[in-house]
């Protein structure tokens, strides 16, 4: 079972007058096969948190530990923009992040490409794919290393609503099938409600303001009353916490 522990995490950029506090005393525990969404307004530190969790940035103080059954956990990351190597084809892009480059890895990559219905694009270059397809390759890439924990940073925010909707469904199916720990950053409350069983609200200044579980059954349809109510509740909470500009 994967376990993420964040203790008194603090991150500041710059010095003195220019100092910007991105994260302030963040404490968080996530474990098991949960889909956790982190929502918050722009500039609240959500992406910084993910960057620290995936080793792209170092904290100013505090500690982060991501373990799988006591040992180091394998981490997969899906970015806002697909971040594919433009000069390598789809299969090579997936293989690039594989720890071992053997036949088993190739087979795994092919399986996950099939899961996102892109098995026919193995030899294509990213420029030959649409934005949505590139993002699906990015998702397959992250899943194909069979990570213990998956971090996703607003992965659908660059896509049109229809493509995003389709990809959300695909993502949910993949999560259901593989039962990973997913930490999903988004500014779209509806998206958070559709996908997650736990929603964490981040406020400006980088603090956790609310941590709630969502117990509704899957799959969730935005048209469903209970789902709509959950979304409305969270948005109201945003207002109460003074996170929405009036």
């Amino acid at each position: 079972m994967a376990e993420i522990r964040i203790d008194h995490l603090h991150k500041a950029f710059g010095q003195d007058e220019d100092k910007v506090i991105a994260l302030e005393d963040v404490n968080l525990e996530i474990s098991g096969a949960v889909f956790v969404s982190i929502v918050g307004p722009s500039g609240c530190g959500k992406s910084t948190l993910l960057n620290i969790l995936s080793d792209i940035e170092t904290p100013t103080s505090g500690s982060v530990s991501i373990t799988q059954d006591g040992g180091k956990a394998k981490i997969g990351y899906v970015f806002q923009a697909a971040r594919l190597l433009p000069w390598r084809n789809v299969m090579d892009n997936l293989m690039f992040v594989q720890p071992e480059r053997d036949d088993a890895a190739r087979k795994r990559c092919r399986e996950y490409l099939e899961m996102v219905h892109l098995e026919h694009t193995v030899k294509k270059y990213p420029a030959e794919l649409s934005g949505g397809m590139q993002q699906r390759v990015g998702i397959a890439r992250a899943f194909a290393i069979e990570p213990d924990v998956l971090f996703m940073d607003e992965p659908f925010s660059h896509l049109d609503a229809i493509t995003a909707r389709g990809l959300r469904r695909e993502l949910h199916e993949m999560w259901k099938a593989t039962r990973k720990t997913v930490v999903f950053v988004t500014h779209d409350v509806g998206e958070a409600v559709e996908l997650s069983n736990r929603v964490i609200i981040f406020g400006k200044g980088g603090q956790i303001r609310e941590d709630m579980t969502l117990d509704l059954p899957f799959p969730r349809d935005a048209a469903d009353d209970k789902v709509a109510l959950a979304k409305a509740n969270i948005l109201r909470r945003f207002e109460e916490l003074d996170l929405i500009a009036r």
Partner: protein, 298 residues
């Protein structure tokens, strides 16, 4: 003239309009019109020393056949020049590449060499040709050194731009997946440097060649540049113009047969363009979701 027929299409017609619309026609036509214009303008031009197109073409044809009044044939002359060019350019590359890499990677080294590189870029190759002629004597010394001096700044500047432009988003992605450093160098850094490497090759060779020809005019006794000087001294305009055309043809051959082919192979992953610059612009990188604008920081 063979034309492919698609099912249900009208039968192929030999229509002038259709021929004119083809890409190659426009280029051939421009050359034909130029030669025609040249021929027609001859009687009204101010000096008698301007040869007719036929004279120039005749001279070029003789040269190609090896029937020359010069000291060497065009083939020998170009062979000599090319040997000097490649020798000089190799040295320029061996110096320019590491300096460019270091300047791109280290701010302090960059500041140290920056002004010298700027001077090198701005200096007319003529100055190098004259100075090297004075200092290093005729032929190989002066000519090869001129190539080095003319080409090196271009190799440096394109290399350092390449190092500065390594896509951060991709190296971050690799880091988040814990990809080993050797793989990052091989699959991210090296390919991202390729367009700049090409640019340094192209501009370095182009400027090296221009410098070489000048050096051969002033400080050599052989080579393509020297040949053009020979015909100038002999007051034979068709020789000068003929050699000018040989230079143009040479440049076109190198561009089409060497650079274009190599470029098509190395950059086959790029969306197909009619003609594109070698360097990836920020806009192109953005298309692949790689530029700084692609991700929101917080």
């Amino acid at each position: 003239m063979a034309q492919t027929q698609t099912a249900g299409a009208r039968p192929a017609t030999f229509s002038p309009r259709r021929i004119l619309r083809q890409r190659r026609s426009a280029r051939v036509l421009s050359v034909v019109l130029f030669l025609l214009g040249w021929q027609l303008l001859l009687p009204v031009l101010p000096t008698a020393l301007i040869p007719a197109p036929a004279e120039v073409l005749g001279f070029m044809w003789d040269e190609i056949r090896g029937d020359t009044l010069g000291r060497t044939t065009v083939w020998e002359a170009f062979a000599i020049s090319l040997r000097r060019l490649f020798a000089g350019f190799t040295i320029a590359f061996l110096i320019g590449l590491p300096v460019g890499l270091l300047m791109g990677a280290n701010r302090w080294i960059d500041r140290m060499f920056k002004d010298f590189v700027l001077v090198g870029l701005a200096m007319p190759s003529l100055v190098w040709a004259l100075l090297t002629g004075l200092w290093f004597g005729l032929d190989s010394g002066a000519t090869i050194i001129t190539v080095v001096l003319a080409a090196t700044p271009f190799v440096i500047i394109n290399t350092l731009e390449g190092v500065r432009d390594v896509p951060r988003e991709l190296t971050d992605m690799a880091r988040s997946f814990h990809v080993p450093r050797t793989h990052v160098i091989r699959h991210v850094i090296f390919p991202s440097l390729m367009p700049f490497f090409f640019a340094s090759l192209r501009y370095g060779l182009a400027n090296g060649w221009k410098g070489l020809v000048l050096a051969e005019v002033f400080a050599a006794t052989s080579g393509a540049g020297w040949n053009i000087r020979y015909w100038y001294d002999a007051h034979r305009a068709q020789g000068v113009i003929g050699y000018a055309f040989f230079f143009i043809i040479f440049a076109l051959i190198v561009e089409r047969l060497v650079f274009q082919r190599l470029s098509n192979r190395v950059f086959r992953w790029r969306p197909s363009d009619d003609v594109g610059p070698d360097e990836l612009t920020a806009k192109e990188l953005d298309q692949y979701g790689v530029a700084a604008g692609g991700d929101v920081a917080m």
